[in-house]
Symmetry: none
Subunit: 135 residues, 2 copies
């Protein structure tokens, strides 16, 4: 069993044993094959507006409640050493994990997501999305 | 303070002030404050070469062994519904989580990472990196 899979197997075994009576938050990595990883980067129309940034963060927080979202992270550019290959020009990022494509589809049409787009899309000038299937 | 850094500072200051009543517990996902999320997208010189793809996947798998990598996912474009905001032109993606900036820095200079770059960089024509600080 490869290291990568072994870690996944161990996580599953731990969960199955009930030894970990924990929330999703404490799980060291999603364990389901075929997970969809949805990463969105936002550029604001008014990048210096604290108010707009706060509105976007508040909107993004609401998406975490969508049932099919299994892991969720809101981020800002990290102060890693600048390199030409790093894009740190965005204002906020949102990373969400779904068990499968159906979960991602359900998210897209969920009332909370629709409300988020309606409320927050006037704030951004650009978004960039990457959807990955976890191998 | 440059515009970019000021924005980061503002976000952190807002968080420190409690303006975001977002507890770590409420976030689904690893709970360590200050985690660095490193997402890299690769475009191959020979996108139709199964061999090159496999070499890159093998190289990426080796990076999981680096101690400071806390969560690791190798992906390919997911078959979500095409939208203009989705970039699905890359061949492979690698998503890694670090507890802090020091962990990411250690990864960059780790012998396994150096070996990966040496072995695999001739395979790619472009990489795009996003480093996010988890809020």
């Amino acid at each position: 069993m490869k290291l990568h899979n072994r870690r996944k197997f161990m996580t599953r075994a731990m969960l199955a044993s009930g030894g970990l009576a924990m929330t999703r938050a404490a799980i060291a990595g999603p364990a389901k094959k075929g997970q969809v990883i949805h990463h969105v980067f936002f550029w604001l129309k008014n990048p210096d507006s604290k108010e707009d940034l706060q509105k976007l963060l508040d909107g993004l927080k609401s998406l975490e409640k969508i049932e099919s979202v299994k892991q969720y992270h809101i981020g800002v550019p990290a102060p890693t050493d600048p390199r030409p290959v790093i894009d740190s020009s965005y204002a906020v990022s949102a990373l969400s994990f779904f068990d499968d494509l159906a979960g991602q589809n359900a998210y897209q049409v969920h009332p909370l997501h629709k409300k988020f787009v309606e409320t927050c899309s006037p704030l951004w000038k650009k978004i960039q999305v990457y959807d990955s299937a976890d191998l």
